[in-house]
Amino acid sequence: MHAKEVAMSDTTDLTHFKKHVNVCIGVFIALLVFTVITVAVAQIDMGKSQNITIALIIATFKASLVAAYFMHLNAEKKTIFRVLFITFIFFAALLFITLGAFYDYIKL
């Protein structure tokens, strides 16, 4: 959906657009709630790796809400997904290269 389509559309499209805006407001409230949950869960000591895992799962969920609804990815064209898929591959490669440092220790 882009502005020109909505600007020249009929009432049905505007209603649909207003519904999307209301969904975004719901996502905003969810993000605030999950921020509080992140902080609360971090106060519970479950072991370092468990704390890290849970915090990152919540952060990834929040980020996916922002990407899907705020950045409108859930209704975006295939071109964008192709770009982001390539980005994901390169990002994973970047982290993988970093892991290589663990197997090639330089002892000084």
């Binding site: 882009h2 905003f28 705020f70 964008i80 980005t87 990002f91």
Partner: protein, 250 residues
Amino acid sequence: MDIPYTVSPRLDTGLWNAKLGIWLFLASEVMLFGALFSTYILLRVHAPESGVLMWPKGSDYLNIPIGTFNTAVLITSSITVILGWASLVMKNLSKFRWYMGATILCGLIFLGIKAYEYNEKFHHYGIFLKGGTVVTGRLVSEAGDHAMLIPDAKGEHHAEPKRFERSEIVRISCFGPKYSPFFAIYFTLTGLHAIHVFGGMIVNAYLWGPGTRMWATQPARFTNRVEVAGLFWHFVDLVWIFLFPVLYLL
């Protein structure tokens, strides 16, 4: 001559140009912040298990309530930028200016709080001693033969200044980037993020101010400009959603 495909989509990509352009730019930004996050992982995993350079818990040095509030501020700015764009789609320029103004205000609050946090760090010191320990607190004085520090008082309200002779001191540093690898990556990540917030605010301020001239002649193109600026702003928010738990909570 008009720039083509500012509103109508190209047949090959299915998108108007700025939409594809901003996503390509955001993809490059993912690599930039990704490189720094992988640096964080490397530094943290290789940190010693004990001693003064042991990786600290974020709450040892950073203020969680302030960080939480800053997170809420940035999330709020994301919804206000959406409401601003939605106002333009609904052909309401004055509402757009209210919401974009709120977005800029949230950005200013975020940066103001960040500046306060940084300032607090720059006035907090650690004296590394030869025994392999560190004493942290407020530096009172530093001279050729000694340094005086008011140690951080845990549970006590008042602590007396303590004198340290140069012979027992390895180094003195404020909680700046050079204090430890934790602070080095903290300032690099949050500093780069703050620069992005500032850059986004400049674009938003232009769209709020002189940029609105385009609304009179090309409203759809102006709406699209606001949309792509909003996409950048959401990305900045997204990065902070990861930064906050990683640095402050873990």
